[in-house]
Point group: C2
Chain length 316, copies 2
């Protein structure tokens, strides 16, 4: 099974060393950005950042930067940190709306500090994004657009749940807005920081957008197949047996999760659609990888290929 590299494993080649340096710079930038004098904001922000996460968005940004010859890790790390903090802000606010008590294996900010401080911590992370990006002039336009898209996507999702209009078309629109737009900004910002040509910037924008769509589709599949374990079955077995998720749908009353979003994801991705969704994610990743042809051959490009493949070939 392919897993994301861990710090102890990655210092094995020059590119892995570069990535390690890059991602360490991102962590430093994030921690510095949330170093508020207001203790609860600092503590709550550090709590959610300290819980880790895949850091896939800043990793893509740093890799598109490296792949185009960028060398100033500190310069690129601040926008990469901003992208991750934008995602983190939305996660903190999500946990308020969804009453989430666990996040990344830790109690959510909401669970520890309560709703008021979780709301303010999310707001604070938004403003930290803004502060980090402020010196980056026109690149602000890219992240601002993605930030609006993210909130619009979250809102469409909440609206779809409330009004029970969760069609596949609505689902496609939601994931484009709430996930793919921020991935897209990450890839394009990394490219533009490294003075990409318009063609390269556009291609890396498309690469990241498609990786983002695939990432969210797989995330939703994992959410659902993860729930299956509650039914005493493992997802892997169901999938190996070709039953996909369809086997579960009729057990709805017996074992459906009480989260309406989960239940709706089940409807969207039921039956053959689970395999269709996997196929779609795989196709998106293939398209993404094809976009990388604009890049010179180098190790960072290979890493971008690898990340895209990992997105569909992961179990967490």
């Amino acid at each position: 099974m392919i897993t994301y590299p861990t710090p102890t494993a990655i210092a094995s080649s020059p590119i892995q060393e570069q990535i390690q340096v890059a991602m360490q710079a991102v962590e430093s930038a994030m921690h510095e950005a949330v170093n508020s004098e207001v203790q609860v904001l600092r503590d709550a922000s550090r709590h959610i950042l300290g819980a880790g996460g895949k850091r896939i968005r800043p990793r893509i940004l740093m890799l598109t930067y490296l792949a185009l010859g960028g060398t100033d890790m500190t310069y690129a790390a601040a926008p990469a940190a901003a992208v991750e903090l934008m995602h983190t802000a939305s996660v903190v606010h999500d946990d308020i709306n969804d009453h989430g008590v666990l996040r990344r294996g830790r109690p959510s900010v909401n669970a520890i500090w309560g709703r008021t401080f979780a709301l303010l911590t999310g707001d604070f992370l938004f403003t930290a994004v803004y502060q980090l990006m402020a010196p980056y002039r026109d690149l602000n336009k890219l992240l601002a657009r993605a930030a609006t898209a993210l909130v619009e996507g979250e809102t469409l999702q909440a609206d779809a749940v409330k009004n029970n209009i969760f069609t596949r078309e609505v689902y496609a629109r939601i994931i484009a807005l709430k996930t793919a737009a921020l991935f897209q900004a990450a890839g394009e910002i990394g490219a533009r920081l490294a003075h990409a040509t318009e063609e390269q910037a556009e291609a890396l924008s498309q690469y990241s957008y498609n990786v983002g769509l695939a990432f969210q589709i797989i995330d939703d599949i994992l959410d659902i197949t993860g729930d299956e374990s509650k039914l005493g079955k493992t997802a892997g077995i169901d999938l190996q047996q070709g039953r996909g998720f369809g086997a579960v749908k009729d057990d709805k009353n017996g074992a459906a999760p009480d989260d309406p979003i989960e239940s709706i994801k089940r409807k969207i991705l039921k039956g053959n659609r689970l395999q269709e969704a996997r196929d779609q994610a795989a196709a998106l990743v293939d398209m993404a990888i094809a976009m990388l042809d604009v890049l010179p051959e180098n190790e960072a490009k290979n890493e971008l290929v690898q990340i895209a493949r990992l997105v569909v070939d992961r179990d967490y």
Copy 2:
């Protein structure tokens, strides 16, 4: 009684006509910025914007711009709209945390659309701020810093309420962060948009900061004296009689509002302190007006003097 100019009253002199044009441009910029394709975000944003408000922050920005010879209203209107939307975002989130059901005489976003959509509408307004400001390069630094300060101030306030550490020093720090910082950004952004000298920009920054402090002090006094009417007394009579707010403090159990923030403001501003606070606000306004000496003599400068005076001489 002096009141804020109304559209029908202000077209009486060239500067009033300019201000009317300027503030209309701000309204247009705000409405365009919230014109999301996601209906609930558009509706909720328009609802809160349509409820009006004093628009004092964008007015200060437009006036510092005009006072320094700025002429492109559309160019200055977008940052002014961003400043007002930043304030509006915080208001929408405030109403979630305080369970506010009325805002500017209308039901709050929270009351109409519920907590989830109010949270997302506030987030959306933040991102609209970001989008409006993105083309304004280094001015983003000013608004980003103010945005962080605003959230820090709101957090300190919530923390002070929770832990009952609402001293005058804490109060001073809260109003500096949650209110004065955004006023300050407004004045300085207007100045810099008009290519102010460093001395002018700094002076207008200080002007706006002090006006912001005075504005918040008076706002808190009005909140409290407004409550007095519930006790069957009018604030004006109490103040004329020199009793200030001290007369109320012993009636606490009988008629105290259930909002902990209101109750705490009462503690801070009780007794002689009400008059002290009024005096302090008046002194801040005097200092603010003195800062305007850096400006050439013109009608916009006179309007800035007038706004500062209105801040302490108002009843709403």
